[in-house]
Amino acid sequence: MSSTLFIALPLLFGFISPLFSKFGKNTTAIVSTTMQLFLFLLSLSLLVDAKPYVEVISINPPLGISFVLTKVSLFFVTLFTFLMLMFSLYYMSYRKTIPYKNETKFFILINMLLASAVGLVLSSDIFNIYVFFEIAGISAYILSAYKKTPSALEAGIKYLLTGAIASVFLVFAIALIYLNIGSLNLAVISLSFEELPHNVKILISILLLVGFGFKIEIFPLNFWVSDVYEGSSAHVNTLFSAIVVKAYLFVFFHILYLFLPSGEFSIFLIYLGAISMLVAEIVALKQTNLKRLFAYSSLGQIGLIFTAFAMQNQDGVQGALYIIFAHSIAKTIIFLSLTTIGKKYNTYDIEVLKKLNSNFLKVVMLIAMLSLLGIPLFAGFVGKFLTLKTLAVNGTFLAMGIILLASLLEAVYYFKLVGFMFVKNEVKEVLEINKTQKVIFASLAIILIIVGTFPFVVSNFLLDSANVLLDNHSFITMLMH
């Protein structure tokens, strides 16, 4: 039953957390982080000897609730718990530098976010997916408006409006699926989805694309993203960029592969992703706010991941998993260091990088940016290379060209940032970084370099994961017994 722990423990934490605040002001934070450490170690222990299907919990198939922990969902669970642990450790050290507030609420929210992201990845029942979709949404809205400044509330309202519209379309799609197929189980739907009348199939696909499109931040439904990132605090953006979007992306393509195994809309989705990347990178060029700039950079990377997933073949999915891994870690570094910078200089304007005087932070951010760019020897390279190679093999050269152009634009503004960081300047105030933060940044950066230099550390695992994700037949037999 280990896979239920990933969902049950963080939710349970929310219920019993009022008790902890009685035992001193740091108890909540420590208990929360310990729990996340436990979950991370648990997922690592499952990872050591992972079979393609680690655990299937299916109560009374096809009617009951079912959770499936496959190799690929284990990859996401490990990534999420690891990044959440890093975030919590960072936040605990960051908290010491600001006046104490009772932040039980904050820890409840990040644990709800973790539980729902894991729930999205594990559940194989479309209504459960809807419920976790909403839980992740609600905790993200509150985290976004957490500071209660006008701009944070504005971001929260915009996020909530788009999220509510998305959920209407998702419920509509689920209703039509149930009316036509009579089941909510992904395996059962997958068996008969392709035989539906063409019009119904198209309608459901469009509703699902719009419903998830808001959440996976795909062009043209991503107009809200930059506002939300700018309004929310920088450390919360880490969670949005590294965990929430990735969970939604996974569940969208999981559903897509199960429902349309023949890849009917593959070409359309490939170009949607490529155009999404190009538009995001073009807009990113003229941004002057760092949070906003990295929001657009996230959108660009998500377009790339979308394209890689949309190819619906082994190499593409493997490439997408690589990019997800590299992007999540790199964006964690970037947004957490932005938090440190913003705390010190109290601004997120791009000019602040000129004042930045901390060689450690500069080097770490440089590593993260190079990995995002896809320079060889950094983790981002492998994924980008695999994606471009697969696009070339598939013969979609136009999409490949669009992505290369977008990468070029990406390079332009990243090198502008690097130029700002390493500009020669008169005496600058030294930015002190405490030990915990240094350890966190250094370990994340080292992971990026190790995975980039020796891709074989993870490549077999990711290849197996890609195969598991694409293998509908065994998913259905596992789920239905």
């Binding site: 971001a155 909530l160 419920v171 509509f172």
Partner: protein, 125 residues
């Protein structure tokens, strides 16, 4: 005279047309209204139209409630309880999101005394 409306096909058509027009009303409100609370109301209308469609189409008039009582021995000729359970959950979730949105709006109004979406410009576009 009203027997015509009692046929199940006619009821189905009424439900489809009615809920879809309700959906369009909500969509229209969402696109035209500028007051934040009004946009939330529009979204609530859209949501309820989807709930109405789902419940209406999955309900069969001649079938009974899915309860084994009053001499009923098996589950034949009974309505499917899944859509109703689902929609109850969805209503609760929609309610929670709406309440959260309204509370955000109140906080925002207290700080800035703005309620118009077009005036929400502290984040550059």
């Amino acid at each position: 005279m009203f027997e015509f409306f009692n046929q199940s096909e006619v009821i189905k058509i009424i439900i489809i047309v009615g809920s879809m027009s309700l959906f369009l009303v909500g969509l229209f409100g969402l696109l035209t209204q500028k007051h934040i609370i009004k946009t939330f109301i529009s979204i609530a209308i859209m949501e309820s139209s989807v709930f109405l469609l789902f419940i209406g189409l999955s309900y069969k008039q001649t079938f009974l409630a899915p309860i084994l009582a009053d001499g009923q021995q098996n589950f034949s000729q009974m309505n499917d309880p899944v859509p109703q359970a689902m929609i109850l959950t969805a209503i609760v979730i929609g309610m929670a999101v709406l309440a959260l949105g309204v509370s955000f709006t109140i906080e925002y109004y207290k700080l800035t005394s703005k309620t118009n979406i077009d005036e929400m410009t502290s984040l550059r576009n």
